[in-house]
């Protein structure tokens, strides 16, 4: 997906004006939130489980070279092939070469944000191949020429009526059909593609180093078909997806579905450990795993941001974020949106491109509460802001304003003087609008109070300091 984060100021206003999308996003995220909280509450000690998962991820990241090596060795020992890609272009070239060697014309894909990140579909289509997204949400977006707006619910921004109209127009499905009918229609069409596809491309939720397995969780069964029916299967993963061994997987399989959709388990969990063997009757003949860096190793080398690579892409921080709930994912301008996008995107793309995102937060901290791997997102948002300031990316007026503010607050005599001077004018209840930002930006939608006629300091010095304590009357319970 093309990067357009620099457009955030414009894009977020557009998003706020789109009430249809806002309503759909609010409803979907509130449903996710309720389900997540219900499922978290069922666990005897969810915080301990999160802490364990965070520890496993940190350990793996600390020894990433070792675990990626183990993963590659074990995949290869079972006849799979592992490719390391430095960046998106590199990954696309590797995947293109595999598909061309397979003489592929039709490719089916299951849901994968990392392939959105590297714009794989575009690369394959340029080379003359037909690519079909088989996840229902992704399929709808592909028909519309749109990109996913959410890590796990790619089309949550779409009101159902829009899908109705689309399926009516394209396939003659009666307007007002149920979601089941619409899904059934898509299923019927995509089924043909599964039968005819030459290559299946999937993402990866976890890669188990010890067993050389990739793990995919899903609810529609399309990933299982994508990875088993075509002759060639290519799995694409970010290098942070590796975990040490199969015991650790249990922890993540407990957390991910609960955090993501509020399910105890997804409908399908696939562990894939290589191409079809002689003893098996189905499965792909070729199994490739593409391991992508694309900026991740620079995040790994950054001690303050490294924990963002713990992310298991559940989307809980998006769902709970009151900013994401207002805007949806598209306004953020790239594939990873919401709080995790706001800390990760500057790391992957550089701050100059992504500088708006860390500021797109009231720092309420809700994201930090829900993260299943305890990424300190609120703190990281502040760190990214601090870096943007240090890099001189902020407007001069703001920088000067903060300097003036600091000088005022460092100097108690000056502070007291300003406090007095602010009261020479007898304001009314509210400050008048002078038409000057930031006062005018505030007052477009809100009253701004005038300073109290007497500051607390005045009250204190004019008698409050020596006032007798109010009586505590017996409480009548």
């Amino acid at each position: 997906m093309e990067v357009s984060i620099h457009d955030f100021p414009e894009a977020h206003r557009k998003a706020l004006a789109n009430t249809g999308v806002r309503g759909a996003v609010m409803r979907a995220t509130q449903t996710f939130n309720q389900a997540r909280e219900d499922r978290y509450a069922e666990l005897p000690d969810v915080e301990a489980l999160k802490a364990y998962a965070a520890t496993v991820k940190d350990h793996t990241l600390e020894h990433l070279d070792y675990y990626l090596g183990r993963l590659a060795d074990n995949i290869e020992s079972r006849g799979g092939q592992v490719h390391f890609a430095h960046d998106g272009a590199d990954a696309n070239q590797i995947i293109l070469a595999i598909t061309q060697a397979a003489n592929a014309k039709l490719i089916v894909k299951s849901k994968s944000m990392v392939t959105e990140e590297i714009e794989l579909n575009h690369a394959l289509e340029q080379a003359g191949m037909k690519v079909i997204e088989s996840d229902l949400g992704e399929y709808i977006l592909q028909l519309e020429g749109e990109h996913p707006s959410h890590i796990i619910g790619p089309a949550i921004h779409k009101p159902k009526t829009e899908v109705d109209e689309l399926f009516h127009k394209l396939y003659g499905v009666p307007l007002g059909s149920s979601a089941d009918v619409l899904a059934g229609k898509a299923r019927e069409i995509i089924r043909e593609d599964f039968l005819n596809a030459d290559v299946g491309i999937s993402g990866v939720n976890f890669a188990v180093a010890e067993s050389g397995s990739i793990v995919i969780v899903e609810n529609e069964g399309n990933a299982r078909l994508t990875t088993s029916r075509p002759r060639v299967h290519i799995a694409v993963m970010g290098l942070e997806k590796v975990i040490p061994n199969i015991h650790d997987l249990g922890v993540f399989l407990k957390l991910l579905p609960r955090a993501a959709t509020g399910q105890r388990s997804t409908v399908f969990v696939s562990l894939i450990s290589g191409p079809k063997t002689d003893l098996e009757i189905d499965g792909p003949e070729e199994f490739h795993v593409v391991v992508l860096d694309n900026g991740r190793s620079s995040v790994l080398a950054d001690p303050e941001m490294r924990a963002s690579l713990r992310c298991i892409r559940c989307g809980a921080c998006l769902n709970t974020c009151p900013v994401y709930q207002q805007l949806g994912g598209h306004a953020y301008g790239w594939v990873y949106s919401g709080p995790i996008g706001s800390v990760l995107d500057p790391g992957l793309l550089g701050l100059p491109e992504a500088k708006s995102l860390p500021f797109a937060s009231s720092l309420c901290g809700a994201c930090g509460d829900v993260c299943p791997v305890k990424i300190p997102l609120p703190q990281m948002l502040v760190t990214q802001r601090t870096r943007a300031v240090s890099a001189g990316l902020m407007p001069t007026a703001e920088t000067l304003g903060i300097k003036a503010f600091k000088n005022l607050m460092k100097n108690p005599a000056l502070y007291r003087l300003s406090s007095k001077m602010g009261r020479f004018v007898k304001w009314g209840k509210n400050m008048p609008n002078f038409g000057i930002a930031p006062l005018s930006s505030w007052q477009a939608t809100r009253d701004f109070p005038a300073p109290n006629q007497k500051s607390f300091r005045d009250l204190w010095n004019e008698g409050l300091n020596t006032e007798a304590a109010p009586k505590l009357e017996a409480a009548d319970d």
Partner: protein, 257 residues
């Protein structure tokens, strides 16, 4: 028990009656209150906006003032949760400055939000006023809640006084300091979500209250543009004056120029 009162610059300038009520409320429970005159701001606006160096300078001033006052007092009490939470961030700010880090730990571990102090440190179970029949929409300040652990304390006091707490939207009010003026439309959209919930889910509310003046400035500012809204009162005034705030508020607003 003797405490140093950290009024916060916002309450000093825009919430002096709430700040005075906090002092009186503390005194009601036998607390001796001191006010270090050289205090200014905690540095939160600079810190949240990414100006860590500037925030550090303000923080050093804060530490100078309150370190001294803590020599003769047991704790710092603050009537605005997010300003208290900022002081709890000081150890992060001074992570690479061992001398100030120690001072930061020392001071921040003794900074308490008002209701937190009453309930946790004094063991207050009843605020000493009657709020029977008063319907209250309580708003959690994100920073008080997440960075200081203030969630049950204000509810305990309000309910002990007989107030009825109405459930309504629990998300952030959208204030966020400079966020509210740098992205005013977004901030207002978040505020409207809250205010819409207030007028639908908590439409019976007599009073909107919180532990945080930043949030109340945002929500109160938005309510100023709406009709038939509940009164906006800082929790200290509510716990000090009880039902009288309902009448006193009307009288004071009428007497304004």
């Amino acid at each position: 028990m003797r405490v140093s009162f950290f009024v916060t610059c916002v309450a000093d300038q825009f919430g002096s009656s709430a700040a005075a009520a906090s002092v009186r409320l503390l005194r009601r429970f036998g607390v001796e209150v001191g006010f270090p005159q050289d205090q200014t701001c905690c540095g939160q606006p600079a810190y949240n906006a990414g100006y860590a160096d500037d925030a550090r300078e303000i923080a050093k001033h804060y530490l100078n003032v309150f370190e001294k006052s803590l020599e003769t007092s047991d704790a710092v009490v603050v009537p605005s949760g997010s300003c208290g939470a900022m002081v709890h961030h000081y150890p992060e700010l001074f992570a690479h400055d061992p001398i100030n880090l120690r001072r930061a730990w020392d001071v921040s571990s003794r900074v308490f939000e008002l209701t937190q102090f009453l309930v946790e440190k004094l063991g207050v179970t009843h605020p000493g006023v009657d709020l029977t029949g008063v319907r209250v929409a309580y708003h959690d300040s994100c920073h008080a809640m997440r960075n200081m652990g203030v969630k049950q304390q204000p509810r305990i006091l309000l309910e002990a006084a007989g107030a009825t707490l109405l459930p309504w939207d629990e998300s952030c009010c959208g204030f966020g300091g400079l966020f509210s003026v740098k992205l005013p439309e977004l901030s207002s959209a978040m505020m409207d979500r809250k205010l819409d919930s207030l007028t639908v889910d908590a439409k019976e509310a007599d009073i909107l209250t919180s532990t945080d003046l930043g949030c109340l400035m945002q929500l109160g500012g938005g309510l100023g543009r709406r009709q038939n809204t509940p009164r906006v009162v800082h929790i200290a005034e509510l716990l000090l004056n009880g039902k009288a705030v309902l009448e006193a508020r009307v009288a004071r607003e009428r007497s304004r120029p």
